[in-house]
């Protein structure tokens, strides 16, 4: 029973971690919270469904295509909505409000296009269950966990070993200095939004496949919990977002199994508040010191 719940928690946690990465990468570079990210995740999920069901593509073409389009959506949001505010140099609160505006826009756009109801998701992959003793594992669950771990490893490699990764890390330390070193920071920012949105699209497709459901307001609860995961791990830290995502998934699943199912969503925020009181910079975050 416990091991079973733990595995369920890891599955959900992996999905949270994928979304949390988008929050944490954007925060690391621009120091803004992109509150529209949860809705980008929803758009990604719907695009996956659209490409398979309406365009009739096989999933190995449809899902990468959905990832590309979602990445483009993320980049366009940054270009059209955040960049003009950023360039004016107004405070972070303006961008936050703009992000909330984008979030309202996307949610209502999705409701206009796809209706307010719940859609069944693509079932191209037949669900199979494997029994290991008294633990029940489905092939979808295994797929979700493996995919999450693979994508995170790939991201970790890109950020730490490639040229664009170095540029990203430099930009996150200081945009001005990075520009002086000849880094095209606008390109780096666009790439960050693109990668973050593509990961959110994967998470969207995984949620759709795992729960067999997608609806226009799905981004709200996943977005909030992924945001909590990013904070928990230390916002701005990529390994932190992964750790935070898994932790929140596990705590939430165990909490709803052993304590109360009604308070499922409260556990994530309860643990978040507790951690922030004890360690304000998050589990893996750097301590921030204000200098005069």
């Amino acid at each position: 029973m416990f091991t079973q719940q733990l595995i369920n928690g890891i599955t959900v946690g992996g999905i949270y971690a994928l979304i949390a990465l988008g929050y944490t990468m954007v925060y690391g570079i621009l120091k803004i919270v992109n509150f529209a990210h949860g809705d980008v995740f929803m758009v990604g999920s719907f695009l996956g469904l659209l490409f398979v069901q309406n365009a009739g593509m096989p999933i190995y073409i449809a899902y990468p295509a959905a990832m590309l389009v979602t990445a483009a959506v993320g980049v366009v949001i940054e270009r059209v909505c955040y960049r003009p505010i950023r360039i004016k140099g107004t405070d972070a609160l303006s961008i936050l409000i703009a992000a909330l505006g984008v979030s309202i826009f996307l949610e209502n756009f999705a409701q206009l296009v796809w209706g307010t109801g719940t859609h069944a998701y693509v079932q191209e992959i037949k669900e199979k269950n494997y029994e290991f003793g008294n633990i029940n594992l489905s092939n979808i669950q295994i797929g979700v966990i493996v995919l999450c771990v693979l994508l995170m490893a790939a991201l970790y490699f890109v950020v730490n070993k490639t040229k664009i990764g170095v540029a990203m890390r430099a930009t996150s330390q200081s945009i001005t200095s990075a520009q002086l070193m000849g880094i095209n920071t606008e390109m780096v920012i666009a790439a960050t939004f693109g990668v973050g949105s593509a990961l959110a699209c994967v998470a969207g497709v995984l949620v759709g496949t795992y729960y067999d459901a997608v609806y226009p307001l799905v981004g709200y609860s996943y977005g909030l919990k992924a945001f909590a995961a990013a904070i928990l791990g230390g916002i701005g830290s990529i390994p932190g977002a992964m750790l935070g995502g898994f932790l929140i998934g596990i705590v939430e699943t165990l909490g709803s199994a052993y304590i109360s199912a009604g308070y499922k969503d409260a556990f994530a925020f309860g643990i978040l508040i507790l951690v922030l009181i004890i360690r304000p910079s998050g589990l893996l975050g750097k301590k921030h010191v204000d200098k005069v």
Binding site: V33, C81, P84, I85, K88, T90, L93, S94, I95, L96, I97, A98, L100, G101, V102, S103, I104, F105, L106, E107, N108, F109, L112, Y220, L224, F227, A228, I231, S260, G262, Y263, D265, A266, A268, F269, G270, L272, I273, L276, I277, P280, H288, D290, V292
Partner: protein
Amino acid sequence: MQSIIIDLFQKPGQYKKVAGFILVALLAAFPYIYFNNYYLHIAILVGIFVILSLSLNLITGFTGQLCLGHAAFYGVGAYVGALLMKNLQMNFFLALIVSFLVTGLFGLLLGIPTLRLRGDYLAIVTLGFGEIVRLVFINWEEVTNGPMGLRSIPAPSIMGFVLKERYMFYYLILIMVLLVLFLMNRLINSGFGMAMQTIKADEIAAESIGIYPVKYKLIAFILSSGLAGVAGCFYASYVSYISPTTFVYNTSVTILAMVVLGGLGSLAGSVIGAAVLTLIPEVLRFISDYRMLLFGALMVLMMIFKPEGFWGVSKRVKNIYKLKAGRRHHERDIKSQ
């Protein structure tokens, strides 16, 4: 329009006083000019949101601490008020005070650990608090009646006179709004308010001139959350039915949008923001399907082209220059005499 009321309190100038009185008189006469329950209902909602956005402005606009769970305080105030009036038959005005105290206490408990830290921790913790409060409303069925909500909350009564007509609620909220505006104006122009605004401008600089930021932030947050509780208590008594769906994250965001679009750190801005954002969805009803879509787009456009809000700093800076110019003329006049 309503901003003139605040100018009345803020700036010298006789014509503004006259205009302010005319406006208050017009607002007072409103139920007689437009006696229509729908218009009155919208006006009362505007009043509730004016109190909510003013209270949020106190902590976010004047003290510079972002709060993303204001709907939770609104909800706690509504439930506390409703339970007291319904189960204990408590008088409305007494319930109003208890709501203020209880929500203020929640503000204190949340504020103590978070307001010591710099940065956006209050935002995150209040966001989490908002979600937890919503789930408690849904799950604590013995007290809150779960998702069904609380029904038949009694209307306020003054000495046995029951306020059951809509226009009576209108006058009650009008008096409450004017009172809150008056008190807020006194507060922000007092030494305490100056300290708050110094903390917003620069916390370290404030500390260096002997202002202890935690104390001021904490008191501002307690007042802010308590005031939201008062608005909640009024709301519960007005609609006589409350359910968890009212006090959700979206409501917090709407209140924040009112404060920011109106102008951070401006009382008149909060009034205008609350009025405009309550009216926009009503005015846009003829394109009902697209109204929230437009609303989102408007929020983004506003932040791109006019980030200081309808009544933001730039407007007030201009006013200061005007005042200074006026004073110079005045001094020259005195010298020439």
